[in-house]
C-alpha cells in the first residue's frame, strides 16, 4: 500500500482490515453507511459521527482511543490521524479510553477482539482513523452547505472552521454540530493527499496529549481511583506457583486499625482496609498455611538444566531448507554456540492493580486495561453475568510492556473475586505491592538457543542448524494455534532472513510450572539476540566485517539493508574509535518494522558501559516523528537494562528477585546517548512500541565480542 489520495469505501475498509489482520474483522467502527450521526441526549450534546470522534458545541474534539495508553504514545498517534483529516487545531483535541465494546473497538490485528499489543495500533488504525476524521469533516461541511444553500464542493476547511470562499462565509465546527447530527454519514469519503498533511509526519504542531497531565501529577491511573466507600485490598499470595490456601488465621489481621474484612479467594487471602497501609499491615499480621503439594518446586537452575538436556534431542520441526546437517559435515569451517536467556519481569512502574465495583445489575471496572474483551468476559464469568453487564473504564497505565495483557486476566479476575467474596458491599481497589507484582510471575520465559553453522572455503555461510528450547507462551490460552506451534516462541529465528542455502530449525516447548507471558517484543526478545550474535560469530569465522557480512546475506531484503546501511553510516561504522571502545551492530524486523542499531561500548571496571547507540528505523509512513524517536529511545533503554542486568532468580520454586534491589533495571547513569534516524517511506505505517527493543542486546554483545575477541553466549551480558 502506498499513501496516495484515495477514496475509502466501507467495503474497501473491510478489505484493508482483513488484509492487515489476517483474521476476522467483526465489524466496522460504527461509521457505516446511511447511519444517521447520533446526537447525545439533551439536544445540545456533541456530534458523534462515529465511534472514535465526538465534537461539542464549542468545537472541542474528543477522541475515544480503542487502545490502552501505557506510554507508547497511542493516544497521540490515533488522535493525530483524526485531527489531520478532520482539520482541527491540535489544542482542541482531547483523548479518552474507549469503553469495552469489541463491535466498535475491536483490533483488526487480533481477530476483532479489543486489545492492545503487537505494536498494532497505528498499523491497523491508519486508514480507519483517517476515515473517521474525514467523515466527520464531510458531515460538518454538508451541514454548512445546507445552511448556506451552496454546493458542498465549494466548501473548504481551515482548522476548526468551514469556509465558503465565494461568499466569504465562515462557520466554526462548534456552531455546526447540532445540524450535522441530523445528517447521514457518507459512505465514502476522500482522504487527504499526503502532501497536504498538517500533522501526520510533521515535527511540529503535535505535543503528546498526555505530556502535561503527566508532568503535573494530574493524569489518572488505576492507583489513583477513589470511589465513595471504597476499600483497598491487599492479597496474601502463595509463596510458590501452584500452592493453595490450606488454612488461615485472621485474628491479628482484623485487630489492625482500619482493617475491615479478611476473605479467602481462589488465589489467596485478601485483607480489605480503609486504605492501603491498613490493608498491608493487616496482611503482615495474617497467618496463612499453604498447601504446596501440587506447587512448582523448581528454580531457574533446574529449568535451564532441563533446557540443556532437551537441546540434545530432536524437537518439533519448524523449517527445513536443503540439508543443514549434511552441509555442516562438508563445510570448511563449523561453529557451534549455545545461548542462554533468563526469566525477565515486566516490572512496570505502576504495580498491578484493579478497581471493581460489583452492583446488583452489573459490574464496573477501572483498570489500565490492555485486553478489554477477554477481561470483560473473564469478569463476567466470575460474577455469572453477560459480558455486556461488565463495563470497563480504561485508564492510563503506568507501563505494562505486555503484562496487563494477561490472556488469563489474572489480576483482573483476582480483583473481581475479592468483590465477589464481600458480595459487592463496597467497591474494591486491589493493590499489589512491588513484591506481589514480580512474585506473581508471568515472566518473559527463560530460553535456550543452540545453533550450528558451516562456512565454505570462500567464507560464505552454507548451513544454519538451530534448536530453540523454551515454553510456548500461548499454551493454555485461546491464542494457541491448533498445530501446537506457538509462533511467539520462535518468531524472528525460524524465519530469519539471512541467505543461507541449508537451514534447519526445530523447537521444544517444555512446561516449566512458572507462569510466562509476552514481554515487550515477545519472541523477538531472545530470537534476535541469538540470531544476531551468531551472525557475528559466523562473520568472525569468515574473517569478514559484521556489517559487510550481513549485507552479503541480505541482498533480497531491501528494507533490512536500508536500516542497516543508515545506522552504519550515521554511526561512522569502520571509522576509528578511542582506545578501549568498540562498535557492535544488530538488525531485526519485528511487527513489520525494521530496526538496526549500532552500539559503542567499553569496559569500566570489567563491566560493559554503553556510550552511544545509533538507531535506524523503517516503520513505513511516520505518523509522529517524536513518538517514533521516543519509542526507539525507550525500547533501547528497556532492552539494554535487560541485556546488562535483567534476570529473575527462582530458588526452589520461590521468586527471589521481587523488588528493584534484587531485580536491577537500567538507571539514569547507564543511559547511553541514543540517536534515532527514520527511513523516509511511503510504505504502510507499522508499529514502534516494541521493535526498538530486540536489536540492542545483540548489538551490545557484538560490540563486547569485537572488544574482547570472546563471544558472549549468556544474558545478562558479562565479559
Amino acid at each position: 500500500m502506498t499513501a496516495k489520495p484515495m477514496t475509502v469505501s466501507r467495503r474497501d475498509f473491510v478489505r484493508v482490515g482483513m488484509a492487515v489482520g489476517g483474521g476476522l474483522l467483526v465489524t466496522v467502527s460504527g461509521c457505516g453507511p446511511k447511519e444517521a450521526a447520533t446526537p447525545a441526549a439533551g439536544g445540545g450534546g456533541p456530534f458523534v459521527p462515529n465511534a472514535f470522534v465526538q465534537i461539542d458545541g464549542s468545537g472541542n474534539v474528543l477522541v475515544l482511543s480503542k487502545h490502552l495508553e501505557m506510554g507508547q504514545g497511542t493516544y497521540t498517534g490515533l488522535a493525530t490521524l483524526i485531527a489531520d483529516e478532520l482539520d482541527v487545531d491540535w489544542s482542541r483535541v482531547r483523548v479518552e479510553g474507549a469503553p469495552a465494546d469489541a463491535k466498535k473497538y475491536g483490533n483488526a490485528g487480533f481477530g476483532g477482539i479489543q486489545g492492545t499489543g503487537g505494536s498494532s495500533a497505528i498499523a491497523t488504525s491508519f486508514d480507519q482513523h483517517r476515515k473517521a476524521g474525514a467523515t466527520a469533516r464531510a458531515v460538518l461541511m454538508a451541514a454548512a452547505a445546507k445552511q448556506w444553500g451552496v454546493p458542498a464542493a465549494e466548501l473548504t476547511t481551515e482548522p476548526g472552521v468551514v469556509v465558503h470562499a465565494k461568499s466569504n462565509r465562515r462557520a466554526e465546527y462548534g456552531t455546526l454540530v447540532a445540524a450535522a447530527a441530523k445528517l447521514p454519514v457518507p459512505e465514502t469519503v476522500t482522504l487527504k493527499d499526503p502532501k497536504d498533511f498538517r500533522y501526520i509526519g510533521k515535527e511540529t504542531g503535535v505535543i503528546r496529549v498526555d505530556a502535561k497531565p503527566k508532568s503535573t501529577g494530574t493524569a489518572t491511573y488505576t492507583q489513583d481511583i477513589k470511589l465513595p466507600g471504597m476499600l483497598t485490598a491487599v492479597v496474601a499470595h502463595p509463596p510458590l506457583f501452584g500452592a493453595t490456601v490450606k488454612s488461615f488465621d485472621a485474628t491479628k489481621a482484623k485487630a489492625v486499625p482500619g482493617v475491615v474484612d479478611v476473605v479467602q479467594i481462589p488465589t489467596g487471602v485478601a485483607v480489605l482496609g480503609e486504605h492501603f497501609w491498613a490493608a498491608r499491615q493487616g496482611r503482615a499480621a495474617l497467618t496463612v498455611e499453604w498447601d504446596t503439594s501440587a506447587a512448582n518446586q523448581r528454580g531457574t537452575t533446574e529449568v535451564m538444566a532441563e533446557f540443556h538436556e532437551l537441546a540434545g534431542q530432536p524437537g518439533i520441526e519448524l523449517r527445513k531448507d536443503g540439508d543443514a546437517e549434511a552441509a555442516i559435515g562438508k563445510a570448511a569451517k563449523t561453529i557451534e554456540a549455545t545461548y542462554e536467556f533468563p526469566f525477565l519481569a515486566h516490572a512496570s512502574m505502576e504495580p498491578l492493580n484493579c478497581v471493581v465495583h460489583l452492583r446488583k445489575d452489573g459490574a464496573e471496572i477501572w483498570n489500565g486495561d490492555q485486553f478489554q474483551t477477554s477481561d470483560q468476559g473473564a469478569v463476567a464469568g466470575v460474577f455469572g453475568m453477560k459480558p455486556e453487564q461488565v463495563t470497563i473504564n480504561t485508564l492510563y497505565s503506568g507501563g505494562s510492556f505486555g503484562r496487563r495483557a494477561n490472556p488469563k486476566s489474572d489480576y483482573v479476575v483476582e480483583a473481581a473475586t475479592i468483590a465477589k467474596a464481600i458480595e459487592g458491599r463496597a467497591p474494591v481497589k486491589m493493590v499489589w505491592t512491588r513484591e506481589d507484582d514480580t512474585g506473581a510471575g508471568y515472566f518473559r520465559p527463560a530460553f535456550l538457543h543452540r545453533i550450528k553453522g558451516g562456512i565454505d572455503a570462500a567464507g560464505n555461510p552454507v548451513a544454519w542448524w538451530h534448536r530453540i528450547v523454551g515454553p510456548a507462551l500461548m499454551d493454555g490460552t485461546p491464542f494457541m494455534p491448533a498445530d501446537g506451534k506457538d509462533p511467539s516462541s520462535f518468531e524472528g529465528a525460524a524465519d530469519h532472513p539471512y541467505a543461507v542455502a541449508n537451514v534447519f530449525v526445530d523447537t521444544h516447548f517444555p512446561k516449566s510450572g512458572i507462569p510466562v507471558q509476552w514481554w515487550r517484543s515477545v519472541g523477538h526478545t531472545h530470537t534476535a539476540f541469538a540470531v544476531e550474535m551468531f551472525i557475528d560469530e559466523l562473520a568472525k569465522a569468515a574473517g569478514k566485517d559484521p556489517v559487510e557480512f550481513r549485507r552479503g546475506l541480505l541482498a533480497k531484503e531491501p528494507r533490512r539493508l536500508g536500516v542497516l546501511n543508515l545506522a552504519a553510516e550515521k554511526a561512522g561504522w569502520g571509522t576509528p574509535l578511542p582506545a578501549g571502545r568498540a562498535r557492535g551492530v544488530a538488525v531485526h524486523k519485528s511487527f513489520n518494522t525494521y530496526v538496526a542499531e549500532v552500539a559503542e561500548v567499553s569496559l569500566e571496571g570489567g563491566k560493559p558501559r554503553v556510550h552511544r547507540v545509533v538507531c535506524a528505523v523503517d516503520c513505513g509512513i511516520v505518523v509522529n516523528p517524536d513518538v517514533v524517536r521516543a519509542q526507539m529511545e525507550g525500547g533501547i533503554a528497556f532492552g539494554l537494562g535487560a541485556a546488562l542486568y535483567g534476570q529473575i532468580q527462582i530458588d526452589k520454586g520461590r521468586v527471589v528477585s521481587t523488588n528493584f534491589d534484587k531485580y536491577r533495571v537500567l538507571r539514569q547513569r547507564e543511559m547511553p546517548v541514543v540517536e534515532v534516524h527514520m527511513v523516509a517511506s511511503t510504505e504502510a505505517p507499522t508499529g514502534v512500541g516494541e521493535p526498538g527493543t530486540p536489536p540492542i542486546g545483540p548489538a551490545v554483545a557484538n560490540a563486547l565480542f569485537a572488544l574482547t575477541g570472546k563471544p558472549i553466549r549468556k544474558a545478562p551480558l558479562a565479559v
Binding site: 506510554g71 508532568s215 501529577g217 477513589k226 486504605h275 505502576e350 503506568g398 539514569q668
Partner: protein, 152 residues
C-alpha cells in the same frame, strides 16, 4: 493526631504514626500525584521534598515529618507553569508518566542546589529515579532546558 505542613498548608492527620508519608499524602490527603512504585526507596516514584530536600516518601514514617515542610508535585505549580514542568512538556519527556512526578521532584531539587548542572550532576542526582519507559535521555535534556530557562 499529627500536624504536618504540605504545600504550605497545615494538615491535621489522624493516622498511625508509623504510616509512611506516601500513604498519608495519597490515602489520607487524597493527593495522588505522588506515586507508589516499590515501597523500599529504590525507585523514586514517591519523591517529595522535606524542607526542599528530595526524599522517598514511601520510607519516611509520618512521625518523622515533624515541622519539616512537605512539598509534592501538586505544590510546584497550580497549572504546570514551573520551569521544570514546562521543560518536561516541551521535550515530551513522559511516556507512561507514572515515575514522572518523582523525576520532576528530584530535578527541581537538583536545580535548587545546582542551577547549572552538568550531565554527570544529573546522572548522579537522578540515579535513584527509575523510569521503565527509558525516558532518561529526555530527563537529562529537560533539566538542561529548565536550567537555561531559569537563567534567562
Amino acid at each position: 493526631m499529627a500536624t504536618i505542613t504540605v504545600n504550605g498548608q497545615a494538615k491535621e492527620i489522624a493516622a498511625d504514626p508509623t504510616t509512611p508519608l506516601l500513604w498519608v499524602i495519597r490515602d489520607v490527603l487524597g493527593m495522588t500525584g505522588t506515586k507508589y512504585g516499590c515501597g523500599i526507596a529504590q525507585c523514586g516514584a514517591c519523591t517529595v521534598h522535606l524542607d526542599g530536600v528530595p526524599v522517598r516518601s514511601c520510607s519516611i514514617p509520618l512521625s518523622a515529618v515533624g515541622a519539616k515542610k512537605v512539598t509534592t508535585i501538586e505544590g510546584l505549580s497550580a497549572d504546570g507553569s514551573h520551569p521544570v514542568q514546562q521543560a518536561w512538556v516541551e521535550l515530551q519527556v513522559p511516556q507512561c508518566g507514572y515515575c514522572q512526578s518523582g523525576q520532576i521532584m528530584s530535578a527541581v531539587a537538583l536545580l535548587e542546589s545546582k542551577p547549572q548542572p552538568t550531565d554527570a550532576d544529573i546522572d548522579q542526582a537522578m540515579n535513584g529515579n527509575i523510569c521503565r519507559c527509558g525516558t532518561y535521555q529526555r530527563v537529562r535534556a529537560a533539566i538542561h532546558r529548565a536550567a537555561e530557562a531559569k537563567q534567562a
